[in-house]
C-alpha cells in the first residue's frame, strides 16, 4: 500500500519492524513494544531524522544500520540487548500548563 491512515493493525501483528528513521514510525513501533531495526538512508536524510535514531540507539532501544549493511544486521541481530521504551507523559505537559495559566 501507499499511504494508510494508520499502521496500528500491521504493527500489532508484526514480530519485527524494519523502518526508516522517521520519528512517527520509530515511536509508534517502540510504544507497541516491537523490536525495531532503523535503516538510515544517508543520501536521502536530513540530519534531524538521524538525531532521534542515534539517541534511541544510544539508549539501547533500537538496532540501527544503513541500507548497505541491513542484511548483516538482520543476520546478527540480538534483540535481548534492547531495553523497553517507556511511554511519553503528556500529563506532565498538562500539569505545567495549568500552572502557567494559573489553574493550579
Amino acid at each position: 500500500f501507499r499511504f494508510k491512515d494508520s499502521l496500528a493493525e500491521e504493527l500489532q501483528r508484526a514480530d519485527l519492524v524494519i523502518s526508516h528513521a522517521g520519528a512517527g514510525s520509530c515511536l509508534e513501533t517502540l510504544e507497541k513494544g516491537k523490536p525495531l531495526v532503523v535503516v538510515i538512508n544517508e543520501k536521502l536524510m536530513d540530519n534531524h531524522q538521524l538525531e532521534l535514531a542515534k539517541r534511541l540507539h544510544r539508549d539501547g532501544h533500537v538496532l540501527y544500520c544503513t541500507c548497505s549493511n541491513l542484511v548483516e544486521t538482520l543476520q546478527a541481530m540480538d534483540f535481548s540487548t534492547l531495553k523497553p521504551f517507556p511511554p511519553g507523559q503528556p500529563e506532565k505537559f498538562a500539569l505545567f500548563l495549568d500552572k502557567v495559566v494559573g489553574l493550579q
Partner: protein
Amino acid sequence: TGGHTTEILRLLSCLSESYSPRHYVFADSDKMSEAKILAFEQKRAEKFSKSQFTLDRIPRSREVRQSWTSSVVTTLYSILYSLPLIYKLKPDLILCNGPGTCVPVCLSALLLGLLGIKRAIIVYVESICRVETLSLSGKILYYFSDYFIVQWPDLKEKYSKSVYLGRMV
C-alpha cells in the same frame, strides 16, 4: 503538518476542559491534519460533554529546506493571513510545536501584544525529534516565546532558558 499534528494532539490529550475553545491553525497544503484533529476532537467529545473547536488554514510558510531568503518572503506572506486571523481569535494561549506555520502565528500574536490589542502566552514545545539541535522555528521562537519546552536533556543544557519536563509524547 503530519508528525507535528500527531505530536501536538498527544500533548493536548491530558488538558482539562478549561482549555476551550480550541482553535487549530494549520497550513493550507496540509491534507492529513484535519482528519487527525477531527478524530481527536470526536474522542474528546465522548469524554467531555461539549467540544468547542475551530479549524483555520493559512498559506504554508516554508517548504522543507527552502532557502532562508525566500522563506522570509513566504513567511511574510503567511503573516498577511495569520495577522487578521489572530486578531479575530484573540487567543489567551498559543501552543505550538515547530511546524513552519507556527512562526507567522506567533509573530502575529507578538505584534498584537506590542500594539496593546491582545497579549497571548506563547508556549512552544520542541518536537521529540529534536534531540541535539533545535528546528528553525525553535531557534526563532526560543527568543519570542514565554515558555520554551524541550524533550531531551541535551537541549536543556544548550538552551538554558528552556524548560525540560522529560519526554511528553
